[in-house]
Amino acid sequence: MALLEVNNLEVRYGVITALKGISFEVKEGEIVTLIGANGAGKTTTMQSIIGLIPSQSGSVIYDGHDITKMPCHKIVHLGMSQVPEGRRVFQELTVYENLVMGGYSIKNNANFKEDVDKIYERFPRLAERKNQIAGTLSGGEQQMLAMGRAMMSHPKLLMLDEPSMGLSPLLVDEVFEIIKDFNKEGTTVLLVEQNAGKSLAISDRAYVLENGQIVLSGTGKELMSSEEVKKAYLGG
């Protein structure tokens, strides 16, 4: 059974239909990527799955629960976590306090200290800056913090919305390495990217989103060698 199942999901903003009934699934243990150009509907997909924006029709099933109409904070308590587009770390809180917020959904966490230490171990830069106000971090550091924060809740499904956006090539590689590691440690990943090459390379399966519709799907390898994908997303 799939961990996440999206069926005919339709989302409108006023008169604009951003998602025209998309269906896809993410199985436990997979890395699945949605690739698509700017404005294709990737962020809308991510936000509507996790309950930040309402859908007009269709359904979202997660881990056996129908979460279509569930408010975001309850979905998060079911073990879904998201690194949002643009990182959105809490600028006024310190690095440490951001991690505390990441673990908000775990009640009376006895292993809280270990959890934080594990994030610091994974992201040594964050350990060095744990008492720094997050708003003063560099873009790369904020991305690391957003990822660390999202992992604090021990998600079953981690969703990342363009985590490589605005990062130097070196950092982009690091981000994809970290995603692979998270996945190896047992976290299922749904990734959204414009950086198609790198994301397809680490993906088990992928879907191509165009104008609010899924137009292509396959394994990461299949899509990497597909003529259409090469032309549109891999620069020839």
Partner: protein, 290 residues
């Protein structure tokens, strides 16, 4: 000496403004709305103190009753009047808040009449030290508010709920992604603001025993001004703005030539500060996101 007495009085008045300003600023920061009815919660608290003292004679019980009743009132107003308007235009919310304000004032008038009630909370006398003569109620007000503000600052900075409040005020969407129930945080914010308003009502009645249904109107507007001066949405800003307001008011009232214009002077300061710093002294620019 006289000046130091004026200053202490100003800080005490200022701490009352700060109590009220905190309610405005926290609700604004977290629910992104201007709770125009906040001043009237003070008035309701005042009547609770009046009723309790008339029946039980104890001012501390009066304060407790006011706190409990105001918290229940604040949370109820939020649930019935404001929550259904989440996502509505700010103008609709503002008009609703003004409506709530009139509703509270009119209800109080229907129940208690329009003639002022006298509430002699406690006659604490004066205390002399270091050549100063200071009414004890001033020191009580100052002391209590300092403790409350300290507790509030620690609560916001170090507790899970307090940090969640900062998170919600900064980015509601990201806060939800942490699993924070934004509606619950907004409710808690209204509860805290209303409890502070009850304390402010108590301090005001200690200062002057006359109580009518517009008790909270002018202090509410001044405290809102103080919140804007400090930077609306900022907790230390509300404390600073409130204190500033009280000190300016106290000093202005001791200078006969300008005393009659004290209110005008306070609002003038707001205008000047906003011209120099549109976000207020400690305010920051904010972006809005889903």
């Amino acid at each position: 000496m006289k000046f130091i007495e004026t200053l202490i009085n100003g800080l005490s008045m200022g701490s009352t403004y700060a109590m009220i300003a905190l309610g405005y600023t926290m609700v604004y920061g977290i629910a992104k709305m201007l709770n125009f009815a906040h001043g009237d919660v003070i008035m309701v608290g005042g009547y609770m103190i009046f009723v309790t003292m008339a029946s039980l004679g104890n001012p501390i019980l009066g304060l407790l009753a006011a706190v409990v009743f105001c918290v229940a009132l604040g949370v109820t107003i939020e649930k019935i009047a404001y929550k259904p308007l989440r996502g509505a235009s700010p103008l609709a919310v503002l008009i609703t808040a003004i409506g709530v304000s009139y509703l509270l004032q009119s209800t109080a008038q229907i129940i208690f009449g329009s003639a002022p009630k006298m509430v002699n909370v406690a006659d604490l006398g004066n205390v002399k030290f270091a050549g100063l003569t200071v009414p004890v109620y001033i020191l009580v007000t100052l002391g209590c508010s300092m403790v409350i503000m300290l507790v509030l600052s620690v609560f916001v900075k170090y507790t899970k709920t307090g940090r969640a409040m900062i998170a919600v005020s900064e980015d509601k969407g990201a806060a939800q992604l942490m699993g924070i129930n934004v509606n619950k945080i907004i409710m808690i914010t209204f509860a805290i603001g209303s409890a502070l308003a009850a304390f402010a009502g108590f301090f005001m009645l200690m200062k002057s025993p006359s109580l009518n249904n517009t008790l909270g109107a002018m202090p509410g507007i001044k405290a809102f001004t103080a919140a804007v001066i400090g930077g609306i949405g900022s907790i230390p800003g509300a404390m600073l703005g409130g204190m500033l307001m009280g000190v300016v008011e106290a000093i202005s009232l001791t200078i006969p030539a300008i005393a009659p214009y004290t209110d005008a002077i306070e609002f003038l300061i707001l205008i000047v500060i906003l011209l120099v710093r549109p976000t207020g002294i400690l305010g920051k620019k904010r972006r809005e996101k889903v």
